[in-house]
């Protein structure tokens, strides 16, 4: 698991855990539905995540919206999941980007407040998310991605002839980040 400080947002450290082959997605999702306050985390379906940069872009958008009181969802963590989406429909965005009962790979994000330390966050995720922790890198993400679905959902152009259709190009990633940034405009 990793703690990330984003440029320009020194007060909002991100704690990110990427989990492979998670067994208890149903349980995690139920905690969110029950609004269990111990589970104030952003749980995203890692197979829908385009890249590490896209995740940080979503976090930075959500934090920016929270600073100005423009959040459309309940809290900063749900807002991060919403910010991963390029559409303005909240429940559809959660269905697409958020954790589902069938989710295999989970990306968990916590924006740290003073009441918790990084160690506590890491311990909590290690205890409650039943999966293998892997490094939060583009390589690991690309092994989890459902590329055809990502292409469809972000309306990416079809892969060019000399490109590998099974993976996302740098341009694809840029389109995803751009579409996320333009969401709601």
């Amino acid at each position: 698991m990793e703690s990330i400080t984003v440029p320009h947002l020194p007060a909002h450290t991100l704690h990110v855990g990427l989990f492979k082959d998670v067994k208890n997605a149903t349980f995690l999702r139920q905690q969110l539905l029950d609004i269990n306050t111990d589970f104030q985390y952003a749980f995203a379906d890692a197979s829908m995540v385009a890249s590490r940069q896209a995740v940080i872009a979503a976090c930075s958008r959500a934090i920016d919206d929270s600073i100005f009181g423009r959040m459309k969802t309940r809290n900063l963590h749900s807002e991060i999941v919403f910010a991963l989406s390029a559409i303005s429909n909240i429940s559809e965005s959660f269905r697409r980007m958020g954790i589902q009962d069938t989710t295999k790979h989970v990306l968990a994000i916590k924006v740290l407040d003073e009441s918790l330390t990084a160690t506590q966050v890491h311990a909590f995720l290690g205890e409650h998310v039943h999966g293998t922790v892997v490094a939060f890198t583009d390589e690991e993400l690309s092994s989890m991605q459902d590329v055809p679905r990502i292409r469809k959902i972000y309306k990416l152009p079809p892969a060019g002839k000399d490109e590998n259709a099974k993976s996302l190009s740098k341009t694809d990633e840029a389109i995803v980040i751009g579409s996320m940034a333009l969401r709601g405009s």
């Binding site: 940080i56 100005f68 840029a174």
Partner: protein, 248 residues
């Protein structure tokens, strides 16, 4: 945190106002300020375009114009990415407070490259012509995507070094920048004016190289199917100038 009710013209919007990340002002236009900084990660350089509030405008109108212009530019950039035109990627934006973070493009402008080119070497003209043709292809690709730039000059074109290629000043991939005046259009007239503006700008910025401009039109023809109509219209625009309506 509440937004400052009386923003001064050069105050940075949040979160940049309280940022501990260095921001360097690199250019200032009539509408916007351009900073070099990092965004999303400490190793991702970015160009941050800030449109500060204009205190002389009515606040409601000011907000609306800022929003419209930021969004128009961001939408055009994302559209270009989708169409495969080389432009800076949009990393983030806030149309309420008026900023947009874009991918930093390495390399220098075409203007610097042409001005600083080595005219003494053998085949210097050929290299320049090659560059001009690549410019034409870049503009043709842009127009084929349904976008006109609105301010095509050699300082709004970057030469991004290509990995593994010899670092000649005039080599590299053409990347168009500064889409602040860009519009999405299907009008032949708009495309012809776009080319005309480039032609005039090129002639006055690089008078010695003016003779190579036909190469630009040649490159344009190579990649854009509607080039014939646009170039025919360009003849008309040359006769009468940029303004058609004679108003304003």
């Amino acid at each position: 945190m509440a937004a400052d009710p009386l923003p001064t013209s050069h105050a940075l919007p949040s979160p940049f106002s309280t940022s501990t990340t260095p921001l360097t002002l690199i250019a200032q236009g009539a509408e916007a300020l351009l900073y070099h900084t990092t965004f999303l990660s400490p190793t991702t350089p970015c160009a941050l375009k800030i449109r500060p509030a204009k205190p002389w405008r009515h606040p409601t109108l000011d907000k609306r114009l800022t929003r419209q212009r930021i969004l128009a530019e961001a939408r055009v950039l994302v559209k270009c990415l989708r169409e495969g035109v080389a432009v800076p990627a949009v990393l983030g934006l806030d149309w309420e407070t008026g900023w947009m973070a874009m991918q930093w493009i390495d390399g220098g402008s075409v203007k610097e490259a042409v001005r600083g080119r080595d005219v003494s070497v053998n085949g210097a003209d050929g290299v320049l012509k090659g560059l001009m043709r690549r410019i034409g292809r870049a503009v043709g690709g842009l127009h084929a995507a349904g976008v006109v730039h609105g301010d095509l000059t050699t300082s709004n074109m970057m030469l991004r070094p290509i990995a593994g290629e010899t670092a000649d000043r005039l080599r590299g991939e053409i990347v168009l920048i500064d889409f602040g005046l860009a519009t999405q259009t299907v009008q032949e007239e708009d495309r012809a004016v776009d080319l005309y503006v480039l032609e005039r700008a090129f002639g006055s910025t690089h008078p010695r190289e003016e003779g190579t401009f036909p190469e630009v039109l040649e490159g344009y023809r190579e990649v854009f199917k509607g080039a014939k109509g646009t170039l025919r219209r360009l003849e008309e625009v040359r006769m009468r100038g940029r303004k058609k309506s004679m108003v304003g």
